[in-house]
C-alpha cells in the first residue's frame, strides 16, 4: 500500500509541477512527504513561490494565488487518474483577468481530451465554452433551464433569453 501511494504521489507531483509551469509561467512549486519513512500517515506539504517572490508559508499568498494553486493541484491529481469529464463550479471567481486568461488557455488545451462542465459568472469564461446553458428562476424556488446564444450575453449576465 505504501508502494502504491508513493508511486501515485510521485505522479501527482510531476503533474502538479507541469501544470504549474503552464499556469504560472515561471516560479517554483513542489509537494513533499514530510516524513518519507511514514508515507501513509505523515503530513503532505505544499511549497510554492510565484516568480521572483520569496514565500515562507502558503498563508502569505493572496486569495487569487491560493485559488490558482489549488486548481493546479487538483488538475495535477486529475491527470493521474483522469475522468472523461471534469466539473468546475465557479473556480474562476477570485482570479483577475490575466490569471483567468492563463487558466482558460490551459483549460482549452486539456479540453481536447476531457469534457469540461463549468459554472461561472464571468464573461471571459462564457466565451471559452462551445455550449452555453442558462439557469433561471422565474417562479421563486423553481429552476428552469434555457439554452443561450453567446451574442445575447450583454453586460448583464442575467439577460438570458430562450432560443
Amino acid at each position: 500500500a505504501a508502494e502504491k501511494f508513493l508511486t501515485t504521489f510521485e505522479l501527482i507531483r510531476q503533474n502538479f509541477k507541469n501544470v504549474f509551469k503552464e499556469i504560472f509561467e515561471g516560479g517554483e512549486a513542489d509537494i513533499l512527504l514530510s516524513d518519507i519513512n511514514d508515507p501513509l500517515e505523515c503530513p503532505i506539504e505544499i511549497s510554492v513561490s510565484p516568480r521572483g517572490k520569496k514565500i515562507f508559508s502558503l498563508a502569505q499568498l493572496s486569495g487569487g494565488e491560493r485559488a490558482l494553486i489549488s486548481i493546479t493541484l487538483l488538475f495535477g491529481m486529475y491527470f493521474v487518474k483522469p475522468s472523461p469529464f471534469c466539473v468546475l463550479d465557479e473556480v474562476d471567481a477570485p482570479l483577475d483577468d490575466i490569471n483567468l486568461q492563463r487558466f482558460l488557455k490551459v483549460l482549452k488545451k486539456f479540453a481536447t481530451n476531457t469534457q469540461f462542465i463549468i459554472i461561472t459568472h464571468n464573461k471571459l469564461t462564457m466565451n471559452a465554452g462551445n455550449t452555453l446553458y442558462g439557469v433561471t428562476m422565474e417562479r421563486p424556488g423553481v429552476s428552469k433551464l434555457v439554452s443561450v446564444r453567446l451574442e445575447e450575453i450583454s453586460d448583464k449576465d442575467l439577460a438570458l433569453t430562450r432560443t
Binding site: 502504491k4 501511494f5 501515485t8 504521489f9 501527482i12 503530513p43 503532505i44 505544499i46 502558503l58 491560493r66 485559488a67 494553486i69 489549488s70 493541484l73 487538483l74 488538475f75 491529481m77 493521474v80 487518474k81 483522469p82 475522468s83 472523461p84 469529464f85 471534469c86 466539473v87 468546475l88 463550479d89 465557479e90 473556480v91 483549460l107 482549452k108 479540453a111 469534457q115 469540461f116 462542465i117 463549468i118 459554472i119 461561472t120 459568472h121 469564461t125 462564457m126 471559452a128 465554452g129 462551445n130 455550449t131 452555453l132 446553458y133 442558462g134 439557469v135 433561471t136 428562476m137 417562479r139 421563486p140 424556488g141 423553481v142 429552476s143 433551464l145 450575453i153 442575467l158 438570458l160
Partner: protein
C-alpha cells in the same frame, strides 16, 4: 467517452423534469445567484453514488428531494439520470449508451437503475471503478474547494491524495 445527457426531476430546485444535453467539448452554465447551478453539480455527484451528505450541502439525504416553495408543495421523490456515450468501451458493459439512474423517496427508500434495469448501488460503483469516473474532489470541483485543499488540517489534504491513488 463523454457525458451526453443529464435529467433531473424532483431534485432540489428542479421539481419538474429538466434535461441538459452535452457534447464532448466545454459546456458553460450561467445564471443569477441561487438559481440552481450548484444544484446541477450536486445532482451529478449524487447520481454517481455520493453518500457523504455534507458534500451535497445537507444534513440528511432526504434534503435532496424538492422541499416545496410558497407556491408549490414538496415532492415525494428525487430522480436523476446521467447518460454516457460509451462508444469507446471505457465502461465494461456492452452498450454504446449507458444510462445511470438514482431515485430517493421520502420514506428513505432508494432505487438504482442501469439502462432502466433495477440494480444495486454496488453495480453502479463497480461499473465506474477504475474508470476515473466518480464524485471525486478532483473531478467534481466544488465552489469552496480552495480552503479545503490548502487547509492547515492536513488530514483533509491526505484524503484528497488518497482519492487519486
Amino acid at each position: 467517452m463523454y457525458l451526453s445527457s443529464l435529467k433531473l426531476s424532483g431534485f432540489k430546485s428542479f421539481p419538474e423534469g429538466s434535461h441538459l444535453k452535452f457534447n464532448g467539448g466545454i459546456t458553460v452554465i450561467v445564471g443569477p445567484n441561487g438559481c440552481g447551478k450548484t444544484n446541477i453539480v450536486d445532482s451529478i455527484r449524487w447520481v454517481l453514488g455520493e453518500q457523504r451528505v455534507s458534500l451535497l450541502r445537507g444534513d440528511k439525504m432526504e434534503e435532496v428531494i424538492f422541499n416545496g416553495t410558497v407556491e408549490m408543495k414538496p415532492l415525494g421523490m428525487a430522480e436523476v439520470s446521467l447518460e454516457f456515450d460509451n462508444t469507446g468501451g471505457l465502461l465494461a458493459i456492452d452498450y454504446d449508451q449507458v444510462l445511470i439512474t438514482r431515485r430517493l423517496y421520502r420514506s428513505g427508500e432508494s432505487e438504482y437503475l442501469l439502462n432502466k434495469q433495477p440494480c444495486r448501488l454496488k453495480d453502479i460503483t463497480n461499473l465506474i471503478l477504475n474508470t476515473g469516473i466518480g464524485p471525486h474532489a478532483y473531478s467534481v470541483i466544488q465552489q469552496n474547494m480552495v480552503e479545503a485543499i490548502l487547509s492547515e488540517k492536513t488530514d483533509d489534504r491526505r484524503f484528497l491524495f488518497e482519492e487519486a491513488a
